[in-house]
């Protein structure tokens, strides 16, 4: 028994990512062709070179044929995976494990979501028949309960915390404004964000992730084969996943200031990668900032800040592009947008650009060159009941 990971046994050798946007003129097929085509080109391979595919989509299609049809794959295994908002990360995890097992030489993980064809605002889950007694709240409202709980527990003035949350959104908009693939490319000041009316608890629409269509893809091979495809592969150091059992919803001791699934998931990832102090070890982190209070709590759950201090680190600029540990340098879900099945791989794509020194100058993290590890964190669900994914990738084998 044990979680051993596959540290340095698998490498990413090619990636692609579409712009995340309201793609009124593109369907699932177009987005899949764009992202996978860029990834094939990036690795210098063709669709026939890839031995097996994992397709992540939460609700844009059923089965592997959603990918096999537009790509016109011939007799390839394609597995459709779903794990709520961590779906794209799950596709990468499965593709990497398949290669690590020796079953395949080369695998592709693709994530896609076409959310803007529903005609409704926000994200809407596929209705599964139930007894009708489950909660009908939006994710925004569920996560909104984190902010007052945090303020209460750590004695932070609610108005001061409002500005901390706006600071998170403002930072992510600052980064997204410098990213041509991001959905929202306009900077937003803290004052402007604080002036918006609330839609869920104390959160305004600018505390919420952008809702966008998009796709992203990665090609993975055995680490020893990586240099056949690229001079600058990314080595997978850790892939960790925890599916919560929902106990937070019914446990009177749960106080909405932490996500225990993520704490355990991160601990497993750090053990797999041999990271003891993430704040000093990581060059950057892409985290699941579905709502601003989520990013606040994640800084503590991922071990970047001591309990009760993330709000101060945020105000101090610790997680800014030029800070000690840049978080969401690509703009995050907030500004890059959140096509559910694609987001996990979009996070890895930013690590791919930054660790390889390919991010544009005005968006380059301050830690470039000094540090070689990046973390991606992807969650699905709500406070009290969530799935969590953490990966660590690095540009140096053995580091």
């Amino acid at each position: 028994m044990g979680s051993h990971g596959i540290r340095d046994r698998v490498a990413i050798v090619g990636m692609g990512c579409t712009r995340f946007a309201e793609h009124w003129d593109k369907g699932v097929d177009d987005l899949l062709l764009d992202a996978s085509g860029d990834a094939f080109a990036s690795a210098g391979v063709t669709k026939d070179d890839v031995d097996a595919y994992w397709l992540g989509t939460a609700q844009s299609g059923m089965s592997g044929m959603v990918l096999a049809k537009p790509l016109q794959l011939h007799d390839k295994p394609v597995t459709r995976v779903e794990n709520m908002c961590a779906t794209g990360s799950e596709a990468l995890r499965q593709a990497a494990y398949a290669v690590a097992s020796g079953a395949y030489d080369m695998a592709m993980a693709v994530g896609v979501e076409k959310v803007k064809d529903s005609g409704y605002q926000g994200l809407n889950a596929f209705p599964i028949p139930t007894d009708g007694t489950s909660r009908t709240l939006t994710a925004a409202a569920m996560f909104s309960m984190v902010a007052p709980a945090y303020a209460e527990r750590y004695g932070v003035d609610p108005d001061a915390l409002r500005r901390v949350l706006a600071r998170i959104a403002s930072k992510n908009h600052h980064n997204g404004a410098r990213n041509p693939r991001a959905q929202f490319r306009r900077e937003m000041s803290v004052d402007a964000i604080c002036a918006l009316p609330p839609v869920a608890g104390g959160l305004s629409v600018f505390d919420c992730a952008g809702v966008a269509d998009g796709a992203a893809a990665a090609v993975v091979v055995r680490a020893e084969d990586a240099h056949r495809y690229t001079d600058k592969p990314l080595y997978i150091k850790a892939l960790s996943f925890v599916a919560g059992n929902g106990s937070g919803l019914t446990d009177p001791d749960y106080d909405y200031t932490t996500f225990p699934e993520i704490v355990r998931c991160a601990a497993d990832a750090y053990a797999q990668a041999g990271v003891s102090d993430p704040r000093s070890a990581l060059a950057m982190a892409e985290v699941h900032d579905c709502f601003t209070p989520t990013e606040l709590v994640l800084m503590e759950d991922l071990g970047f800040s001591e309990r009760g201090t993330a709000w101060q680190d945020i105000l101090a600029g610790t997680f800014d592009l030029d800070g000690e540990l840049p978080v969401n340098p690509d703009g995050g879900l907030k500004s890059f947008g959140h096509p559910v099945g694609a987001s996990g791989l979009r996070m890895t794509f930013e690590a791919w650009l930054q660790l390889r020194g390919e991010a544009p100058e005005d968006r380059r993290i301050a830690t470039t060159g000094d540090r070689t590890l990046a973390l991606t964190h992807n969650l699905g669900g709500y406070p009290g009941e969530m799935v969590s994914f953490v990966s660590i990738v690095g540009s140096e084998p053995g580091a």
Binding site: N124, D131, G132, Y256
Partner: protein, 465 residues
């Protein structure tokens, strides 16, 4: 000889009040002085009935429970499907307890009471109504929403709070008010016609009722006249000379509550009656019925937790526009979110005790689980538990029949936590630490299926069970 009568009673007035003065400015006619009770958007006649029945059963003599349930309303939530079964489920009655609807007209509520009184063993008679009328109509302004419940039986079943001394009834076919199935309002004939018929029928029933009770009119202490036809009620009171004994006072703040009104008016009289006092209940509805009752010495010790008057005083206003939207007379723009899917009949069937009865579970470690957890050994009924708001939020994005959704994480006294929707509450009134009680509601309706479940509402005067 065993006496039959009332073992316990309960009444329920919904929280909202419509100021009749607000009607005319919008509708151009109608309205008047005072206020009427208004069922919330998440209440229907079934949920109203559950609320009154819970109170009646809470006040019942120890160990006494009904062998049958008789439910009556003019506005049933379902046709071609029994509504009393949902009330039965919410009350967690055994499946051997039979449950029936007697619906469609105010007179049916009298029939339900007669059926209950004629049953062997205790019977629970539940009546509720949501009174609607076209905007500006007298039915709209004069109607009210409420529920009443009477646990009836004999003194062999338990000590009675009121004994039925005698009754009489007459039936007659004539057209005074009517409604075609599917319509949301009734139509009325010219009032003078019905007034004449009801006055004559009422007088005969009064005489025969007193005879059956073995009393003369002077020995009756108070008379409750229940009639949708206001002029007929006044004329009858004049004709039989009971003006000074006429119990009243629900018109100004509640309104005529249709099927619920015989039980509601009787409950109001019992709330105040001294032991030994004689109360006559007169109902004018497609005929005339009289019940003569005498309050017993047991009554003062077994009144329900909330009196009708306490509930009357505890309401909060609803704007006329919102009232019209709740009743479907004003189609307002819904949130731009998909409407919820209909609940699954089979899934609901598997979770009946949870969904309808709010029964959680308790494990060997004592932890209470809501919803019940597989593997827990014990059922844990939670409908009567009070709770405290641990945290809350207001959701302006989620689908609701009446946005926004106000939602709280509730920790129950004695264990158990549930994130659950709040109702009968305004945004500014919610606070961490606030106390709540559970109430059976209709969360939404999809594909014609009413999705019943429980919500929390603030503990207030006039609430409780």
């Amino acid at each position: 000889m065993t006496a039959r009568g009332i073992l316990s009673y309960g009444a329920y007035l919904p929280y909202r009040r419509l100021d009749r003065g607000a009607i005319r400015a919008v509708a151009g006619s109608g309205g008047g002085a005072g206020a009427r009770t208004v069922a919330s958007y998440d209440e229907d006649t079934t949920t109203l009935g559950v609320a009154a029945a819970r109170r009646a059963l809470a006040a019942a003599p120890e160990g006494v429970s009904p062998g049958s349930v008789w439910f009556s309303t003019v506005s049933p939530a379902y046709l071609d499907k029994t509504n009393a079964t949902a009330i039965h489920a919410a009350l967690r009655l055994d499946d051997g307890v039979t449950a029936f609807d007697m619906n469609g007209a105010v007179r049916s509520a009298v029939g339900a009471l007669r059926a209950g009184l004629g049953s062997s063993g205790p019977a629970l008679v539940v009546a509720s109504d949501i009174r609607t009328g076209r905007p500006g109509s007298s039915d709209e302004a004069d109607g009210g929403d409420a529920a009443s419940a009477l646990l009836v039986g004999s003194d062999d079943d338990g000590p009675l709070v009121a004994e039925v001394l005698g009754s009489a009834g007459f039936t007659e076919e004539f057209v005074d008010r009517w409604r075609v199935p599917g319509e949301t309002y009734s139509r009325m004939w010219e009032e003078r016609f019905g007034e004449g018929r009801y006055t004559a029928l009422g007088a005969r029933a009064w005489d025969d009722g007193l005879k059956a009770a073995g009393l003369v009119a002077d020995l009756v202490d108070s008379v409750v006249v229940v009639a949708g036809h206001k002029r007929a009620a006044t004329a009858l009171a004049r004709k039989i000379g009971i003006g000074a004994k006429l119990a009243g006072g629900l018109d100004a703040g509640v309104g005529f509550t249709g099927s619920a009104h015989p039980g509601l008016a009787l409950a109001d009289a019992l709330d105040r009656a001294e032991p030994g006092k004689v109360i006559a209940l007169v109902v004018l509805a497609d005929g005339a019925d009289v019940f003569v009752l005498r309050a017993t010495d047991t009554l003062p010790g077994r009144r329900p937790a909330a009196s009708v008057r306490e509930q009357l005083d505890a309401g909060a206003p609803v704007a006329y526009g919102k009232y019209l939207a709740w009743r479907g007379y004003l189609g307002v723009e819904p949130p731009r979110r998909p409407e919820p899917a209909r609940p699954s009949a089979s899934a609901a069937g598997r979770s009946g005790p949870w969904k309808f009865g709010f029964v959680g579970s308790q494990g060997d470690d004592g932890a209470v689980h809501l919803p019940p957890a597989p593997g827990d050994g014990r059922d844990r009924p939670m409908a009567d538990a009070l709770g405290t708001i641990a945290t809350f939020t207001v959701d302006r994005l989620a689908y609701s029949p009446s946005p926004p959704v106000i939602f709280a994480v509730v920790d129950f006294d004695g264990g158990g936590r549930l994130p659950v929707e709040l109702t009968d509450v305004d945004e500014g009134d919610v606070a961490i630490g606030g106390r709540v009680e559970m109430t059976f509601r209709k969360v939404f309706t999809a594909d014609g299926i009413h999705n019943y479940f429980w919500k929390a509402r603030p503990v207030r005067a006039g609430g409780g069970r």
